[in-house]
Symmetry: C2
Subunit: 299 residues, 2 copies
């Protein structure tokens, strides 16, 4: 069985939603409060500025400012795993350098996602250029495999090449493709690599295979349940508690999947916090219709 | 038959390749020289920083600097149609404002291309937010339909909504999907809209339907031939000349399509100019292998 190496990301990381103000700009105050709430509920860290966090709808300046706000708000650098991978090589380098300058050393990095059908050589060259240009031995990268959104998959041969060329840098992968067989292959092929489930219900079976935890969206709503599963899944004495938590995770995930996922998560969180300001999304994502909102919450 | 309205883009616009220096950064000197060469060969303008120009591999600062270099190098603002659409709303706004500040008023705008399966409402909201935030009555937008790369198509109903809401702003569309029936529908449905072919061989048939010209990649090699077809396609006395030019356009396009297109175009241009510095591409795109290069040029 695999077991993530010391210093590698391990635990429940929330793919945190990003609250917006009335002008559709990131709401720093609500975001920082949300981070602290997630940590208090049991998250090991905040994978901010990912797909769920609408990162790719925010400009470089907005991304940097949100990371700085989280740190200024008292979230520790080692609790943050910001997404820094964008389409343009030099912007990915700039965001990654910025994170490191703030003391944040582990980042989640999408492949460049504009060009489709790119070669393994091209993706290797892209990640290699980022590592070389960032030129900081503290850098730790969690690769981000989400082909249904990026349309650029991260293959096992690519991971093998990157880990061979840059030992100690590519420490993890967030696998959001939803294909459990691929997660099993990652655990089997790469001893020491942190394999993190990108879908909440799959964290439990992945942990049983030697996975390292999760970076997931439903954690915005069920962080305590995910923390329970993560901590106690191997303890037969707590099987009933783990099963109940897993059932709540699956139910929340199913509820959030009836309509558009990010919009649904924001409505569900707004309801939980009694704060409808959470309903806002930045285009091209849009809020649920009133009818969908009613149907979702009547669930 | 359609006929583009006065002031709308009309003619042969080159989706200009971007030369790189040894550090894989845009080579301003070679780029400016290339722009002037394309204009001298008969292009009506330069659609710089598009897919062919590897725009989405360049950071915001690099894009702004390249546009400024073209202008400083003597290319007129009305000859430039830079791409300014990126994944993040605020970055698209920033690039578009920058172009306008330089006196460049017509831009080519991709839809936000990270999120997939977004709604027509979401895309409408995205373009509407850009227009509202740019807030400049000089702005003219050429929509960019290239679903095989963006994975976010621009539908006819979306175009209708945008043109109704912002009369005079959405003046054109570059249709790179390769589906001639869609180009015909665009010409038919939107009188006055400049419909520009995104594939070189389709400009001639599109002109016969009332299209406005092209924004194409092979123009980097056959600008004179495209200019000939554009100017004389309706003149029976020059049919033989037009047919010969069209045959050379088709041949160049076919040659560039045997291997990866952008890499092939750069090799072919490098050969034409006897300047192998043109062979470089920025990751995730990579140059042709030596074997591919030899096979391509032996064609």
């Amino acid at each position: 069985m695999n077991s993530p190496s010391p210093g590698h990301p391990r635990g429940v990381f929330s793919a945190a939603l990003t609250p917006l103000d009335a002008d559709l700009n990131p709401d720093h105050g609500r975001f920082v409060a949300h981070c602290h709430r997630l940590l208090a509920e049991g998250c090991d860290g905040i994978a901010m500025l990912g797909t769920t966090g609408e990162a790719n709808s925010f400009g470089l300046d907005e991304r940097r400012a949100l990371l700085e706000a989280a740190l200024a708000g008292g979230v520790r650098p080692d609790q943050l795993l910001p997404g820094t991978g964008v389409a343009a090589l030099t912007d990915t380098v700039a965001l990654t350098k910025h994170a490191l300058a703030q003391g944040v050393t582990t980042v989640v990095m999408l492949p460049p996602f504009y060009y489709k059908g790119v070669t393994e050589d091209g993706l290797f060259a892209s990640y290699a250029e980022v590592v070389e240009r960032v030129a900081d031995s503290r850098l730790r990268v969690v690769l981000y495999h989400i082909p249904q959104m990026s349309a650029v998959p991260i293959s096992l041969p690519l991971i093998a090449r990157l880990r061979a060329r840059y030992p100690g840098v590519f420490t993890g992968i967030k696998d959001s493709a939803g294909d459990f067989a691929n997660m099993q292959a990652l655990v089997r092929e790469f001893p020491g690599l942190s394999v993190l489930a990108g879908a909440d219900p799959l964290m439990l079976p992945l942990l049983r295979e030697g996975g390292a935890g999760c970076i997931t969206a439903t954690s915005n709503l069920v962080a305590a349940e995910l923390a329970c599963v993560f901590r106690h899944f191997a303890d037969p004495a707590r099987a009933a508690e783990v099963d109940a938590a897993q059932a709540r995770i699956v139910a929340a995930r199913n509820q959030a999947s009836r309509f558009a996922q990010m919009a649904s998560l924001k409505v569900m969180l707004g309801a939980k916090l009694n704060d409808p300001a959470w309903h806002r999304l930045r285009p091209p994502l849009v809020p649920l219709s009133p009818e969908e909102t009613t149907a979702l919450l009547a669930n």
